[in-house]
Symmetry: C2
Subunit: 217 residues, 2 copies
């Protein structure tokens, strides 16, 4: 496994693909650093992946921004019906990484490729400026881009955590856009489907187990 | 304008298209009653529309379920950063219709066409059984399908409200799946683009103003 190639592709803005584990979600996500999330890249996520277009960050950043997990918002909701459906863990055993759904204050509706791109890149720009205190002047909620918070690779082996590890390896800010790859058979794209797609597009694809193994080195 | 055709198409499970208003979002949504939201229909929304796949219901149902608006969850969050980014109104002037993000308890990850279809149809089945009290045994949050609550067509002219009016006209339960149509130019699909698509597919497309006019009759 050519770890250097994975990191250099990611660092250059090329989409990379991470398939978590057949025993976990059994899903592949296309992963792109937020800095490179142009409208064209958002379109690629929408058309070639098809799941939810999410923005991942790390615990330290979330803590600086003062945002927590969606799980807690649900659990502490004033609405009885919402509190009643709150879960702590997903059916595959992990705590969810969802936080709040945001839009950049520069957008109008928030959903077009141009506007989701703005939201995602604005987040990275904010971090780049070291200005987490500008969160409220740059973003609002409810928005159209779910923020996901890494629970730390030592606690959870999700796409969120693995993507944030990629940022660290590349020496980049903790801001990644990810999207689940869906297939025409109504299921998630299989590993074989991933290999076929990644070969066609020239994208690097990796299994979670292999990525985790590489991180130990 | 052939209102009867619009209602009978909707009633038979055919997708219909509503373009709100160039002065509002300026966006077209594909609209399908939840009952007919098969995995194939979810795929159509994902591939031909491309926005967020949302499930709309009405105020009465939301009240029976005990769920409110996401705006309030944000405003009342325990997290200071979340409270700080809370908005009351969208940039185009309306209060958002977002409520909580749900999954059916039958799903594993929640995002595939099969699983979003399950979530959406389960909601309609629950209403059909008159069993809103089964909400907590059938759904959980955080999930992958945003529930939207109509603020009433007298208060708001969004896709949510117009879709719920369609349900009433068709004598169907208040459960509709909708998705914004995006274009390859990184913007929302224009009305001309909608006409071209709807002609090709044989789907009924209508402007919000015309739909609102028709409702008065």
């Amino acid at each position: 496994m050519d770890f250097e190639k994975l990191v250099s592709d990611f660092k250059s803005g090329k989409p990379v693909i991470i398939f978590d584990d057949p025993k976990r979600e059994g899903e592949a996500d296309i992963v792109i650093h937020a800095k490179f999330a142009t409208p064209e890249k958002i379109r690629l996520l929408r058309q070639d992946a098809g799941g939810l277009i999410c923005l991942c960050t790390d615990k330290q950043t979330a803590s600086k921004l003062g945002v927590g997990f969606y799980t807690d918002m649900v659990k502490n909701s004033n609405d009885e019906g919402v509190r009643k459906i709150a879960i702590e863990k997903t059916p595959y055993g992990d705590e969810p990484s969802f936080s709040v759904y945001i839009n950049s204050r520069k957008v109008r509706t928030g959903i077009t490729d141009e506007q989701r791109s703005l939201t995602v890149r604005e987040f990275d720009e904010m971090l780049g400026a070291g200005a987490e205190r500008e969160f409220a002047s740059r973003f609002y909620a409810p928005g159209h881009v779910p923020l996901l918070i890494s629970r730390g690779i030592e606690n959870r082996h999700g796409h969120t955590e693995m993507s944030i590890e990629l940022c660290k390896m590349a020496g980049m800010s903790p801001a990644v856009v990810i999207c689940e790859m869906l297939a025409d058979d109504s299921k998630a794209l299989s590993w074989n489907g991933v290999l076929e797609y990644s070969k066609k597009k020239g994208f690097f694809a990796i299994m979670g187990a292999e990525l985790l193994e590489g991180l130990k080195k």
